[in-house]
């Protein structure tokens, strides 16, 4: 349980500014996800919170206490690394107990906490094994267990699922979501470049771009009210369709954005004519890629169920009125 406040945080490595003045508030017990393209500074920001990097300027406080100069172990944080970072020569039990041992806790207390965490994560059978005898998913659970044992006020996750295969990623994502419910007093900060993880896990998402906060909000706020072209394009899968030029000017904007589910295949007034480039059927829904004679990416249209379209077929698509996002030349949204 910690209320985290970042005030004008900056971080430079030599002459390179990585974090360029971040103001952010993370509420107690909240699940905050940092998301952004690679190199946007999200991992660096997390490491600043962990204390693994020094803050160049600005103030960071946990529950009102300035932590800028506090050692990582004194901040009440625990971190889960992308590469698990388990101690290879220690058993699962020793890995999880190491932090408490260093803190000189009693043997009984350590055992109780480790066993409780192991049970929560269903790794009890592996407690006496070495990390190399575990699969990737089990290792990451051990790493999460090691974090739980520390009983931190803040959990920091640095892309914890990136090394897992797709099925395991979904399963572990669920574990983390359950963990958040089970420990609803702990604040969690989670870094990912995968916007699906961000959307599914977050209470609030912080979209970062080039070392600056682009937008902070709940997943649906970001999805429905993106405050910039960047956020609109980053959140949502498939990516929002952007059209500019003549089509956009008709709507009085420099660029218009429309999500794939907000386009119908229909021939009506104001529809766009084009031809099918490619179509994908995923079973529950289908995506059609349509070239409407614009430069850039084809427009993606989502349809429910299985539909098939042959390449080069002529097609006519129309946006659902009122579902169009309009942006000005600076990439800021225009009021409706």
């Amino acid at each position: 349980m910690a209320h985290i406040e970042l005030k004008n945080i900056r971080k430079s490595f030599g002459l390179v500014d990585v974090i360029k003045g971040v103001d952010l508030e993370i509420f107690s017990g909240e699940f905050m996800v940092f998301v952004g393209p690679s190199g946007c500074g999200k991992s660096t920001l997390l490491r600043l919170m962990a204390g693994l990097e020094d803050i160049t300027s600005g103030e960071m406080s946990f529950d009102g206490t300035l932590v800028n100069a506090l050692a990582p172990s004194r901040r009440g944080i625990a971190m889960v690394f992308q590469s698990y970072a388990l101690y290879p020569h220690m058993t699962v039990y020793e890995n999880m107990a190491f932090g408490m041992q260093l803190a000189k806790s009693s043997k009984e207390a350590i055992q109780e906490r480790v066993e409780k965490a192991a049970e929560l994560l269903q790794i009890t059978p592996y407690l006496s094994r070495l990390p190399k005898q575990l699969s990737g998913g089990q290792r990451q659970r051990v790493a999460i267990g090691r974090a739980i044992v520390r009983d931190p006020k803040v959990f920091l996750f640095d892309e914890p699922l990136s090394n897992l295969d797709a099925a395991l990623r979904v399963a572990t994502r669920l574990e983390i979501a359950k963990l958040h419910h089970a420990m609803n007093s702990a604040t969690m900060v989670y870094v990912t470049h995968d916007q699906v993880e961000a959307m599914t896990l977050a209470d609030r998402i912080c979209v970062l771009r080039d070392g600056l906060v682009e937008q902070v909000g709940t997943p649906l706020e970001l999805y429905e009210n993106p405050q910039s072209l960047f956020v609109a394009g980053f959140i949502g899968s498939p990516k929002m369709n952007f059209l500019n030029g003549e089509i956009a000017s008709k709507f009085g904007a420099n660029t218009i954005g429309i999500r794939s589910e907000h386009i119908e295949i229909a021939d009506r007034d104001g529809s766009w004519k084009g031809k099918v480039v490619h179509s994908e059927s995923l079973g529950s829904d289908s995506f059609v890629y349509v070239d409407i004679g614009m430069s850039g990416d084809p427009v993606i249209v989502r349809q429910e169920g299985t539909r098939h379209h042959n390449p080069d077929d002529a097609i006519s698509i129309a946006p659902i009125p009122g579902k169009i996002y309009r942006f000005d030349a600076a990439g800021k949204p225009l009021k409706h």
Binding site: P88, L102, A103
Partner: protein, 279 residues
Amino acid sequence: MTLDLWTITKRTAFYALVVFIVFVAVFPFYYAILTSFKSGTDLFRVTYWPVSFSWDNYISVLSTGSFPRNLLNSVFVASVTVLAALFLAITASFALSRVRFRGRSLLLMTILAVSMFPQIAVLAGLFEVIRFLGIYNTPWALIFSYTIFTLPFTVWVLTTFMRDLPIEIEEAAIVDGATPWIIIWRVFLPLLWPALVTTGLLAFIAAWNEFLFALTFTSSNATRTVPVAIALLSGGSQYEIPWGNIMAASVIVTVPLVVLVLIFQRKIISGLTAGGVKG
């Protein structure tokens, strides 16, 4: 068919070469063992198979003179040298591989440069230092000088190994509240065993075999190490070289090294870090 002939020729030539190399490497030692079991005038008869067998030379070298004492000196000097060198090298390599500071690579190059000086070039200067420190003619003089000459190598090898240890493991330990001291001894050291065994063994062998410093920095029979003691073994008169004793002593000093290498080669295994990070 011609291809098979060619393969056979190649293989034969390869094994002939192997046999030749093994022969050149092992024969002197084999002959030393053979000679060490001979006695009297048998010593000067060239034979390639054991013809007579007696422990006389061993008994004589171990019971007369200061050879047992020299053996103990060697064990002490080599062991302490290894411990001192490894301790300094582990702590130094942690700093050199993990702590960012100005002039780090310059320092690494300087350390390497130290090992480029031939022993004889620093002998006089080192002699003065040892006299100044008041450790002349003690085992500490040898430990001091051997450690100096072993460190560049040990530091370099351990720095390279430590640099390859995943940084995340160290960071995880930092988050767990480990000080650099704990990181070195409880996290890194267990992962560095293969490197420690390798460098420790080489340092031990170097200290065990060293002759020039041992000859220069000690002056009495009681403080000499084995290589010097063997060289100075003398017979009944100035014209008699006690080959039997020399060979027995040579075998005695070689056996510990062979045993050490055999024991530790099993420890020199890779993959100790497996499982800690991805992969």
